[in-house]
């Protein structure tokens, strides 16, 4: 279906469709896409994808009666099932969860928007059909597993708000259980309040007919810490764009990504960290292993504003290219306006280390096994802090990926 037909036929299906302000904004974004009015040259959201690819899809969405569940497994373990963007409304002493309602309209418009030339965010706004509020209360200690279930052919355009309130300590996990031919354009607006400690693990391992565009905007307050780890084993397209603002002193953020690509798959990553306060630390590492004709890119930005003295900011990208036909484009950028800072960036991307391979083989390890050892060692350090269940997920995916190397 054409983009225009999607927009016209479904305009009553979207959230806030009765609201005039949003209707106008949607209209504007719609025109912008129609006119192809994007700066394509420096536009990370359009790297390796075309506007026509993004705008041509069959919009399909319906509200279902089947209520998804929030399961309290025990006093600290919660499992939240989100079905086609919708969730069960739920509240207890620890957490409040509810679907976006019309009265949330203002917070929707209020959200920080530093994605002005991002077509994915424009599409999210135009077709918005779901969204969830998570309010994690002060001092709570929880493990939260969020499972995104998307049924065949659904196009989910979701905008979520998460507030991690003061002093909470949360392990938050996103899992994507996508069926076939789904589009998932998901935007998180996250607040990490004073002294909150958040570990956010994101597992992406779905089949090739699905697409995931994941964007997050996170604001970290004083003494908070936000630790994000993304593991992408998907055969389908994934975009991970993650923005962080360190707005309070002594806040810490770490963004790590590992991706494993094969065939013709593409993965596009962008991180953007803004240091707005003193004594904050940021750390970004993206690592990829690429096979066949796969492609990845990683744009990483660290911005240190002039009042963010004593900043520490680190960026690193590493890649192993298993064929001559795959590519990993990495572009780190540091913009520093304060004078007392420690910042660094580095990048090592290339084929498997032949001397290491030779060494292992010279001890009788066959080439395939040696290759597996080297690749496993490449991500081993990123798995250290995972809990048991997460490690199992990763190691199963890793085994599958490594076994597929021997098929060639």
């Amino acid at each position: 279906m054409t983009f225009e037909n999607n927009f016209i036929n479904h305009s009553k299906d979207y959230i806030f469709s009765a609201n005039e302000t949003l209707a106008n904004q949607r209209e504007q974004s719609f025109r912008k896409i129609l006119k192809n009015n994007y700066d394509k040259k420096n536009n990370e959201s359009l790297k390796n994808i075309t506007i026509s690819d993004l705008s041509k899809f069959d919009y399909f969405y319906k509200y279902e009666n089947k209520a998804p569940k929030v399961s309290v497994l025990d006093s600290i373990n919660y499992e939240i099932r989100v079905v086609n963007g919708m969730c069960q409304n739920f509240e207890d002493d620890n957490i409040e969860i509810r679907n976006l309602q019309n009265y949330d309209f203002n917070s929707f418009l209020d959200q920080d928007n530093n994605n002005s030339d991002d077509i994915i965010i424009d599409l999210n706004k135009i077709f918005l059909n779901s969204g969830i509020f998570f309010n994690i209360k002060n001092d709570t200690k929880l493990n939260i597993r969020l499972i995104h279930d998307t049924s065949d052919n659904f196009t989910v355009f979701q905008n979520n708000f998460i507030n991690f309130k003061k002093n909470c300590e949360i392990n938050f996990e996103d899992h994507f259980n996508l069926s076939h031919n789904t589009i998932n354009n998901i935007n998180y607006n996250t607040k990490v309040e004073e002294c909150a400690v958040v570990k956010h693990n994101i597992f992406q391992d779905f089949s090739s007919s699905n697409k995931l565009y994941l964007t997050s905007n996170t604001v970290c307050k004083k003494n908070s810490s936000y630790n994000q780890n993304t593991y992408n084993f998907s055969k389908g397209f994934v975009r991970n764009f993650h923005n962080i603002s360190l707005n309070g002193e002594f806040a810490k953020a770490s963004l790590k990504g590992c991706f494993f690509l094969k065939d013709e798959n593409i993965c596009t990553n962008k991180t953007n960290i803004v240091h707005n306060a003193e004594h904050c630390i940021s750390d970004q590492t993206y690592k990829g292993i690429l096979n066949h004709n796969s492609k990845a890119n990683y744009y990483s930005n660290t911005f240190v504003s002039e009042n963010a003295q004593k900043t520490e900011g680190y960026q690193l990208s590493k890649g192993i290219l298993l064929t001559d036909h795959c590519s990993f484009f990495s572009k780190p950028e540091l913009r520093i306006f304060a004078d007392d800072v420690k910042c660094s960036h580095g990048s090592t991307i290339g084929p498997v280390d032949e001397t290491a391979l030779y060494y292992l083989r010279s001890r009788g390890i066959n080439k395939n096994e040696a290759m597996k050892m080297i690749i496993s060692s490449f991500i081993e350090e990123d798995l250290q802090n995972l809990d048991h269940q997460a490690r199992i997920i990763i190691s199963n995916n890793l085994t599958n990926f490594l076994n597929s190397l021997s098929d060639d």
Binding site: Y359, S362, R363, G364, I365, S377, E381
Partner: protein
């Protein structure tokens, strides 16, 4: 059985000829030493035998245990009992020493159609051999050669040899970088390991190592070939007046 026979081997790299009609025969249980000036091709010889794919074999034949060695790939040669202690052991961060070495020995056992060694027996064997070589248990928890001192790397090579139990061990300057005590520990390790079935090819610049190990033959190598063979007195001669007389 022909144990090792290298016949008129010619090898080049990037068009540059390095081994020149190289010949040597090593029988079971023999210890041979090769000495020669820098750049004469000693490491090249060692790496060609180990199967390094960077070199071009222009002509010649290598028989190892009655089989054409050049037909085998790197791991097959190791599984058949060839071991090279590298001049510059590679650091491989993230690959842990212990499981790596267990995988190595198991691939060899598997190739010999013998049952694999289980974790507990392996841990015992490793601990025993490491102690004999003065390698601390802590070191066995680390990644291959990562952050090891020069001497530690060499000791770890010998530890691997003692575990893998090869028929032919090639040492490429294993003595370089070792302090006096370490040299003694390492040579004791080698001597303990020696028996009538095992053969050694020892590349060195110094007589000292050979004094401990007692080679049956010493060869002088220049410009890619052996130009003189004799006994340990050759090493003394080289130590005294260098290579200009050869």
């Amino acid at each position: 059985m022909i144990f090792l026979n290298i016949n008129n081997l010619n090898v080049s790299i990037e068009g540059k000829k390095i081994l020149n009609d190289f010949n040597i025969q090593i029988n079971e249980g023999e210890v041979h030493a090769i000495m020669g000036p820098n750049g004469c091709g000693k490491s090249t010889l060692a790496n060609v035998l180990a199967g390094n794919e960077d070199y071009e074999i222009n002509s010649g034949k290598v028989i190892f245990k009655d089989e054409d060695l050049l037909d085998l790939n790197i791991e097959e040669r190791a599984q058949k009992g060839l071991f090279l202690a590298f001049q510059y052991p590679v650091e491989i961060p993230g690959v842990n020493i212990t499981p790596f070495l267990q995988a190595s020995i198991n691939s060899k056992l598997k190739n010999e159609k013998k049952p694999e060694i289980d974790n507990i027996s392996f841990a015992k064997l490793l601990k025993k051999n490491a102690e004999e070589l003065g390698i601390s248990i802590d070191m066995l928890k680390r990644s291959i050669n990562t952050g090891f001192s020069g001497g530690e790397k060499k000791r770890y090579e010998i530890l691997q040899m003692s575990i893998l139990n090869p028929a032919l061990s090639i040492f490429d300057e294993t003595d370089s970088g070792l302090d006096v005590d370490a040299l003694r520990v390492v040579t004791e390790g080698i001597n303990r390991f020696k028996d009538s079935k095992k053969s050694f090819l020892i590349i060195t610049h110094y007589q000292k190592l050979l004094d401990y190990i007692h080679p049956n033959y010493v060869h002088v190598m220049r410009e890619g070939r052996i130009i003189k063979s004799g006994d340990i007195s050759l090493a003394a001669e080289i130590e005294k007046s260098g290579y200009q007389n050869f």
